[in-house]
């Protein structure tokens, strides 16, 4: 059971994130929701890498011991890098949107007549 807790956390993070993306009107909260989903997925990857009693995959330290899988770590790192880029992009778009509309309410944005 104790080893399932990370998976429950993953599911909870992803569902909470989805909830925020779908139902929240504040743009910042939507972004937070996406970050939550991303963290959930990253946590999932990290959990997959874990082996009981393993050490961090550092080459010199772990020659003769069990190491946790390095590949999911690499995937997670890549995912984090991408997440940073997406986050920066979204936040800068929000800055622009706020400057245009003076609001962060998704329902009040992009509704003006041309």
């Amino acid at each position: 059971m104790i080893y399932n807790i990370p998976y429950i956390a993953v599911a909870a993070l992803i569902l909470i994130g989805l909830y925020a993306v779908i139902f929240k009107r504040n743009l910042i909260k939507i972004v937070i929701g996406i970050t939550l989903i991303e963290n959930g997925v990253n946590l999932f990857l990290i959990t997959l890498a874990f082996r009981e009693g393993s050490i961090a995959p550092i080459y010199r330290e772990g020659q003769n011991q069990i190491m946790s899988l390095p590949v999911p770590h690499a995937l997670t790192l890549t995912s984090i890098v991408i997440g940073v880029a997406v986050l920066a992009l979204m936040l800068s778009l929000i800055i622009h949107l706020y400057r245009h509309y003076n609001t962060l309410d998704a329902h009040k944005i992009g509704r003006e007549q041309e």
């Binding site: 550092i58 080459y59 940073v84 920066a88 800068s92 800055i95 706020y98």
Partner: protein
């Protein structure tokens, strides 16, 4: 955004070199320890962001232009891709060489003395061929890129305040 109080500035002055060195260490040891170009770059960029917070965007923009950062970023990316390309292009230097894109052409190459003599140990600095070099390139790109993002955002909010 103008600068913050003297205390903050002083602390930043002390902390900044340490953060910088730590970040560069992470970049340099990317192939041996957890970390690498991105992580180290992010550390350095966060140090720079600290500078930005402490001294204010106007002061920083006086020192660094966003255009210069974008050139640095391009150089980093070109370095990375260029190293990957060299995996193929090595064919033209060594006729016997059979390489692919991203090939680690420096590893186990007896032709290049520099990478042959040093690094016999298991975790020495130059045992990984092109990977440290790629880490440097990525680190450069990440430092420049992240700092440019933070700088532009700080600058954008400044305009907003002025309005």
């Amino acid at each position: 955004m103008s600068g913050m109080s003297r205390i903050v500035k002083t602390i930043t002055n002390v902390a900044f070199p340490i953060v910088l060195i730590y970040g560069l260490y992470v970049i340099a040891h990317g192939h041996l320890t957890p970390g690498g170009g991105f992580q180290g770059g992010a550390v350095v960029a966060s140090g720079l962001a600290m500078l930005l917070v402490a001294y204010g965007s106007i002061w920083v923009i006086g020192k660094v232009k966003e255009k210069q950062l974008s050139i640095l970023e391009s150089i980093g990316a070109i370095g990375f891709i260029g190293l990957a390309f060299l995996g193929i292009l090595m064919v033209f230097i060594y006729s016997s060489f059979q390489g692919n894109f991203f090939n680690n052409f420096l590893i186990n190459q007896n032709e290049i003395p520099l990478f042959n003599e040093i690094g016999a140990g298991l975790a020495n600095i130059n045992t990984a061929g092109v990977i440290p070099l790629m880490n440097f390139a990525v680190g450069l790109k990440v430092i420049a890129g992240l700092f440019a993002i933070v700088l532009v955002m700080a600058y954008a909010t400044r305009i907003k305040e002025g309005k």
